[in-house]
Symmetry: C2
Subunit: 148 residues, 2 copies
Amino acid sequence: MQNSEALALTAALLAAAGDLTQRINDGVVARGFEGRPAYGFAFTRLSRGGATVTDLATHLGVTKQAASQLVEELVRKGYVERRPHPGDARARLVVLTERGWGCTRAAEEAAAEVIQEWAELLGGEGEVRVLRDQLTRIAPYGPIRPAW
Amino acid sequence: MQNSEALALTAALLAAAGDLTQRINDGVVARGFEGRPAYGFAFTRLSRGGATVTDLATHLGVTKQAASQLVEELVRKGYVERRPHPGDARARLVVLTERGWGCTRAAEEAAAEVIQEWAELLGGEGEVRVLRDQLTRIAPYGPIRPAW
DNA sequence: CTACATAGTCAAGCAGCTTGACCAAGCTAA
DNA sequence: TTAGCTTGGTCAAGCTGCTTGACTATGTAG
């Protein structure tokens, strides 16, 4: 693989990622929710039984202070609520509210729309599956990172 | 395509993009340059004959003030220099210095390394080419956007 | 020559993150 | 039990990279 090809792949990957993020966010907003992309990553983690602030921080790859601020923002907007943690009085369990679930579904729908469009560009859902499988194989574990 | 599949693709795409960005930057730093990911996008544009601040701003999808600050930073670090623009006394042409070219090559090498690794994960360079072609087809034109 | 558009800078402000200090609650060992 | 350390979370201050707004200098169209 030549360097220039590596750069072409890099540019295409980042362009696709940025475009996808933007359009999912636009779709969420169009469905009546206000948000920023980071919400989606938080929701992904919260949608499986809730999480503590520290869990979220790890998942997002930020400090717990930053995660705490994000949670505060989500509480203010009515997407999540803090509950006492069963079994650890220090911790608080952050869970999605009904509105939070609605926002999550909106994000899913918006994502599905974009990917539907990609399927048309690529010539079929099979091609999308190939893409997803390839990306899954190269995607690392660990915290989510901003693409730049 | 079901919603959950769309989310899986989204997550994998963003994880791959974030990982790639991070590792290219790490590679650049390991080669003795200091930088942040945005530099790479600027260099991509500058490497084709230089650009004005306004060109850069458009390419990066930010205000010209932000682009101007970035250029100032790059000048301070010795990666670019400002020259009078031939044919427009208002404008200044920002061009890469020798050190700037070195940093650009370092980024190319770092990118090639990561993608070499991806080729092994995917089982061959042919698979990488498939990935690149697919991404190229779905990647939009227009300014580069942060992935989140 | 006038009027407007464009390239660039200066200044102020803001969002989202960081580091550092701290408290309350849990854990471990004596 | 208690002493000492770890862990979950918050408060406060500060920084970075962006924004909007105001402005100057140069170009361009009538």
